[in-house]
Each structure stands twice: as C-alpha cells, then as structure tokens.
C-alpha cells in the first residue's frame, strides 16, 4: 500500500511566521491530548464510543485557523465529519465540550448528551451537525454554498469526509451540484484520505490513483496534498480557500493523512505505530529550526495533559440529561 509521504523536504525551512507555527503547534498538541483523553475516558468506561481525529491535526488545525468564523452566510460553513476536533479547537472551542460529549452530560454543548464524541454542532460558527451516516454532508453542503453565492460576500462552504465514503452517491452529488456551468458554487470539497474505510484498504475501495482526479471530469480545480505537514496544509488550504472565495467556484482538495488510533473504538483505538505521526514530525522540524525547544514542547504537552485531566474530572461529575428531556427540541419553537 502506498503511504503518504512524510514531509516534503524535512530539511527545508519552515515557511510560516514563527508566531503562526507556534500557534499551530499549540493547537495540534491540544487536539492530540484531547483525543488521547477521550480514548482514555472511553477505555475507563466514561463513554460508550470513541471516534476522532488523532493523526489529522496537521490538516484540521490549519483549516480551523483559516476559516472565516461567524454565523450566517457571510461567514464560512463547515459540513464536517467526525474527525475534526482539531478544526473545532482552532475555531476557539474549549476541549471540555468534547469531554462532556464523550460523557453524555446534560452540559454537552454540541448535543446535550444525545450524540457520539466528535459529533460537533455549532451554529454560532456555522458548523453543521456532524452526522453518523457518512457522506450525507456532501449532499447538504451545496445548499449553504448556493445561499452564499446569492448573498455575495466572501463566505464559502467547506465540506469534509473520508476517502472510502466517496463511494457513496452523495460525493457524486456534490461534484455535480457544485460545478454546474450555469451556477458554479463557492465550495471547498475536501477528502481526507487516510487510506482506509474501517478495515477495507483504499485498494479495495476505489480505483482512481488520486481521489482529487475525480474533479477533472467536472472541470473542478483539484489537488492532492500532504495533510501530514501542517505547513503545506496551511499554504494549500489558504490558496484553495482564496480561489473559492474570490472566484466563487468549487475546489476539490484531497489531503493524505494518517489514522493514528485506528478507525474508532470499534477497532480498538490503539496507537498504530506504522502510521506517520504528524505531530512528532512537526516537532522535530520545529526543534531543528529553533522555533521551539524540546523542553518547551514537553512542558506544553504536560500542561495540556493536566488541564485535560482536570476537565475530564469536571465532566465526569456532571449530571446526565434528565429523562424527560427526550421530548425537548423534537420541534423548534419560534425563535
């Protein structure tokens, strides 16, 4: 099986401002530590199921940093999938929200104890509810993009999902609806390719050498990038987003990423040592370039680990939703 390349040229200087590199690193560490805490909570019986994105931080963090964040069509919409805690933290979310969702507490800010970990929903930042059926977000996303196209302004729609899921018709729907010559849409169509669908390898799933090549048939500008390199991810995302923002046309971006703890708790959620670890690699480069010292990075990780443990203790002691709340929000009341 072909594997994502490690880093373009590990000796090349890091081409982003130091401040930004430090910020990306900080968020990547925060995300990793959050996910490891979520896995631990699951394994200790403080949650029923874990799914999340360790291994995808190098791509997800830059995505969140680059989003135009706010509510309504002037801002970016994110139709996310279930591996994007890094994006949410980069948008400014506090990790305790994800811990609360894992513990299904009434205080879970994304679903009130109703949905799985990683199933974020955040109207204030245009984050559409993450759905368990994979790929449906690709059918929904053109709708927000259509509104944005009509409203004008700079807001774009971003939709993400996995590579195996591109076999679903919804992915084709997205390509068709986004690229109609009479109404091309401002949508960034992202596929994070971790080379697996649960246990089925990419070779058993799809035949195109690159998922991004499917864009060609639709005249959609497309690219495959190394999503394990936060610098490349940041730069490529920025370029793609600028294109979509300005041209009001679709862009298909495939990011090769790692799946560092398997598919989910359903496959054990254990560290997969053969996978590239984007954080380890990034830290080596940061150290090599003198951006951060090993000690600084270790201290950061320790601090987040302690923070996360404290937050998990808070979440663990919070009450579950009251049974009678099952009747709440079946329908929206007039707002």
């Amino acid at each position: 099986m072909s594997r994502p390349r490690l880093i373009k040229e590990s000796s090349a200087p890091l081409q982003l401002d130091k401040e930004l590199l430090v910020r990306i690193h900080d968020l990547m560490v925060k995300t990793r530590v959050l996910e490891e805490r979520l896995i631990q909570m699951y394994k200790q019986g403080h949650g029923y199921f874990w799914i999340g994105g360790p291994g995808e931080e190098a791509f997800n963090v830059p995505l969140g940093l680059l989003m135009k964040k706010g509510q309504g069509p002037e801002y970016d919409y994110l139709h996310a999938h279930y591996r994007q805690s890094g994006t949410l933290l980069a948008l400014g979310e506090e990790p305790i929200g994800a811990l609360r969702q894992m513990k299904n507490t009434a205080s879970d800010p994304y679903s009130g104890g109703r949905n799985f970990a990683g199933h974020f929903s955040l109207r204030k930042y245009n984050v559409a509810p993450v759905s368990s059926p994979i790929e449906v977000q690709y059918s929904i996303a053109p709708g927000t993009a259509m509104v944005q196209k009509r409203v004008g302004g700079e807001g774009i729609t971003i939709v993400t999902g996995g590579d195996a899921g591109t076999a679903e018709g919804d992915f084709a729907s997205c390509l068709v609806w986004s690229s109609r010559p009479a109404n091309p849409l401002p949508i960034l169509i992202i596929v994070t390719n971790n080379k697996w669908g649960i246990s089925t390898s990419a070779e058993g799933q799809h035949g195109e050498p690159r998922v991004s090549e499917r864009g060609k048939a639709f005249n959609i500008r497309s690219k495959t990038i190394n999503g394990n390199d936060p610098v490349e991810a940041y730069q490529e995302l920025k370029e793609a987003m600028e294109y979509v923002r300005k041209e009001r046309k679709p862009f298909l971006l495939e990011a090769n990423v790692s799946r560092l703890y398997g598919h989910s708790s359903a496959s054990g959620a254990n560290y997969v040592s053969e996978e590239e670890d984007c954080l380890k690699n990034f830290e080596a480069r940061l150290e090599q370039d003198g951006v951060l010292t090993r000690q600084q990075m270790d201290e950061l990780r320790n601090r987040y680990t302690e923070d996360m443990a404290a937050a998990a203790r808070i979440a663990r002691d919070e009450p579950l939703p009251a049974p009678e709340t099952i009747w709440k929000h079946i329908f929206a009341e007039d707002k």
Partner: protein, 352 residues
C-alpha cells in the same frame, strides 16, 4: 373555483412574495414546464435541479441552514425513497443538536393513485413519512386546504412534508381561496401557462391573495353524524364524504373527519367523534401493513375502548408490491367508492 394545482401555485406565489420563500426547486419545477403537474408555473424563485433526489433533499437542508427558505419538490413520492436517511437527518437535526439548529424547509411530493400511474407513480408515502420523527406531515384534500396548509408550511421553523394527492390536483374546489377571482376561466387565463412557447409568458397573479393559513395539526369536521365516524385524508376523503351522503339516504348517519395533518394530528377531534358515535373507520390508500391508520386504530383501542360499540377498522391499500396499470388492477388495489361505502355500511350494521 381554483383546482388544487392552482391553489398550490397561488400559495407559493404568496409565500415567495410575503413569507420569505427563496427557492422553489426540483426536477422540471422551473421554466419551461413549471412542474409535471403544473404546480410551480410562473413562480419567481423556481429553478430546475439536477436529476438527483438526494441532492434535492440535501440542498434543501443546506439552503435552510444557510438562512434561505426552500420549497423542494420530489417529482413523485415513489422517488423519495432513496432519500430516506436524509429525511431522517432533517427530522433529527434540531433534536440531535439540542435545539441549536432547525431547518425551515418544505418538501412537496405528489402521492397516491388515480392517474393510472402504474407501479412507480402510484405509491403512497403517509406511513413511511409519519414514521420519521421531527417532521410535520400534511395532506390536503381540497384546494382551499392545500392553500392554507402550504401557507402554514412556509411559515414553519421545522421541516414539513406536503403530500399532494395526485388524483385531486385537477379537481376544482367548492370553496374560494381568499383573493381568488370569481371567474374560473379568468383565473386560468391569468395563471395557467399557455401551451407551446412560454418564453414570453408571465402570470397575472390575483392581487388580493391573503395569508389564509390552516394551522398544522387541526382536522376538519367535513360532515356531522351520529352513528359512526370515518377518518380519512387525501384522495379517499371525498370518497368518504360521498359515501356518507349516500348512506344518509339509507338512514345511516356518518360523521366525516378530514385529518389534513398527519403529524401532528387532531386526536381531540377523533376522540370527541368516536366517543359520540362508538364506531370508527380509518381510510387511506397506503398499503395496509404497518399503515398509519394502524396507529390510529391502536390509539383508539387503547384510549377509547370503553366508548366503542364495534372494533375500529382500517380500510387501506392491499399489501402488494405495486399498483398495476390495468384499470381493473388499480381499482382492486386501493380503496374505491364502493369499498368505502360497503365498509361503512358493514360497520354501521355490526352488532356485538
């Protein structure tokens, strides 16, 4: 008087002018056709979508999320089945996000038999749709109700499934829609697209159309009666009303309820009627196994058992894979006038 297709069109016109409807779309919904049943001719915000039902429902959800107000059409309900998971998602979005998101969207789709549509243009969708929580589901049986329910649907914060009984789309109403002109021919001339080249055509919408809204969840007492109750909706409702008129001549007094809204539905109206008559027949044309009427029968038994003089009954479509094209096959598959009259007569005569 307007027929149901015209009523739907007028309601949509009112809604795009006054209720913020931004997108009326689906396969062939826009120009030049204006819908295979003409329900969307001449409207301002119509557009033709790709031939992709999942895309249509998905786009409606996205448009609603983006702050638009979509009215999407699935050309025939038979083709809505490959969107079931999206309908489920639309229904649970508010609940699963703990009230954070809501989807103000309407989906219209023609349902039922009556146009000799054979296997794939005759299906019903009431049982399947009422199984999906988080939606409001309505099905009018008159043009006025179609108008009023669609106005309500376009004001909703929640997804609404608007089921259009195909057999009734061309039937003229007996009540005038508020603002509709007195002369039917004048109405047709003003709002029905001409045959042939329509590129220059523009409708002349009646000026006085009103925000006449029928609340979702309220049934209509179509006819008062004292001996038995029949509860129906859509195509079979006028057949029930005719049966009641017929049976009145035989001295059998039938109360007729048009449910209009399937979810939420007017249990209070059913309850009051059954407590009065002690006998009830539920009629619809969906297949009879796991039928929405079975739910109504169950609730009647559980809550009104001691008011009953006879077992509640359901008259529905036969549990077969489709509706055959031949007249004899269609007639045998879904309730017809005689079936309803016979069932009511038999229920009236049932002795414990």
């Amino acid at each position: 008087m307007a027929n149901m297709a015209q009523a739907i069109r007028m309601a949509l016109h009112y809604a795009e002018e006054n209720l913020g409807v931004t997108d009326i779309f689906g396969e062939d919904v826009g120009a030049p056709l204006g819908g295979v049943f003409t329900c969307t001719q001449g409207l301002k915000t119509t557009w033709n979508s790709p031939l992709d039902e999942r895309g249509i429902i998905g786009a409606a959800m996205g448009i609603a999320m983006g702050g638009g107000r979509p009215v999407a059409e699935i050309q025939f309900c038979d083709y809505v089945y490959n969107t079931i998971d999206l309908l489920k998602l639309a229904g649970n979005t508010c609940w699963s996000s703990n009230g954070d998101w809501n989807l103000p969207m309407v989906v219209r789709t023609p349902v039922g038999s009556g146009i000799r549509g054979s296997i794939y243009h005759s299906h019903s969708f009431d049982a399947t749709m009422t199984h999906i929580a988080g939606w409001k589901v309505v099905m009018p049986s008159t043009p006025l109700d179609a108008y009023g329910l669609l106005i309500s649907a376009c004001k909703e914060q929640n997804p609404v499934m608007f089921l259009e009984p195909k057999a009734l789309l061309r039937v003229k109403g007996e009540e005038r829609i508020p603002g509709e002109p007195d002369d039917d021919r004048a109405l047709s001339k003003a709002i029905d697209a001409p045959l042939g080249d329509r590129s220059q055509w523009k409708p002349a919408w009646p000026e006085g159309l009103e925000a006449f809204a029928i609340p979702i969840g309220k049934g209509k007492l179509v006819r008062e009666g004292s001996q038995l109750t029949v509860v129906s909706y859509g195509r079979t409702l006028p057949l029930c009303a005719r049966a009641a008129a017929l049976l009145a001549d035989e001295g059998i007094s039938v109360e007729v309820i048009d449910l209009r809204s399937l979810w939420p539905y007017d249990w209070e109206m059913i309850k009051a009627s059954v407590q009065k008559t002690g006998r009830v027949l539920f009629v619809n044309e969906d297949t009879e196994v796991t039928n929405f009427g079975e739910h109504l029968v169950r609730r009647t038994v559980e809550e009104l058992f001691y008011s009953l003089l006879a077992p509640p009954r359901l008259l529905a479509g036969k549990f077969i894979p489709g509706i055959g094209l031949a007249d004899t096959l269609e007639m045998a598959s879904v309730p017809q006038q005689n079936d309803i009259t016979d069932a009511l007569r038999s229920l009236a005569g049932e002795q414990p």
